[in-house]
């Protein structure tokens, strides 16, 4: 049972436009969510997080939105840059030290 789902394996966006990456979850006990970015042959690096008490968190070009009723979160990147091309993972936790990761979305930003 995949508790965290990223249904789009890949996404292509023109440089300067908005990238929207989606993540759905099934466990209503999840209360903390993170996004990680991963380049080839490297480990994932933390990007941005959001607690379930918020519906939006912003950090520079990156904004995460949380819709608890729909069990859905999204990562917006504006404007997209070629260096943003990577695999993006969302992860969720239910007040524990353990995170459940989604399968990832490969973003390609076209110059």
């Amino acid at each position: 049972d995949q508790q965290v789902k990223q249904n789009s394996p890949s996404l292509s966006v023109q440089e300067g436009r908005i990238s929207i990456l989606n993540c759905d979850y099934t466990n209503s006990m999840f209360d903390y969510f993170l996004w990680y970015k991963k380049y080839p042959a490297e480990g994932p690096t933390f990007l941005i997080s959001i607690s379930s008490i918020k519906d939006k968190n912003e950090d520079g070009r990156f904004t995460v939105f949380l819709n608890k009723s729909a069990k859905h979160l999204s990562l917006h990147i504006v404007p997209s840059q070629p260096g943003d091309s990577a695999v993006y993972f969302c992860a969720a936790s239910a007040s524990t030290y353990k995170y459940i990761f989604g399968t990832g979305t490969r973003l390609k930003v076209l110059a």
């Binding site: 480990g43 607690s51 993972f89 990761f101």
Partner: protein, 113 residues
Amino acid sequence: NAGVTQTPKFRILKIGQSMTLQCTQDMNHNYMYWYRQDPGMGLKLIYYSVGAGITDKGEVPNGYNVSRSTTEDFPLRLELAAPSQTSVYFCASSGGGARNEQFFGPGTRLTVL
């Protein structure tokens, strides 16, 4: 700070062989984790530790063992390698509690033939 380091970077094992994947962090983090990532899949938690001397199973612990004798080191042991253990293994650490981000190592690519 080196962060989280993993050795080796690559390894090919024969079925039935054993090996230890090394993981060291220099951030004095209490929490450490081992994940595996199969092609097209997300990261699956194998084992984790909340401090020296304390370890617990994650989602996919079968075929693996861990130990945590120091804060810095969290080795992962494969006793009888199987082709199903072909994967990329990532070690991670975090400090300060469950809400903190995890810092990942660069990964070990393991192939079992």
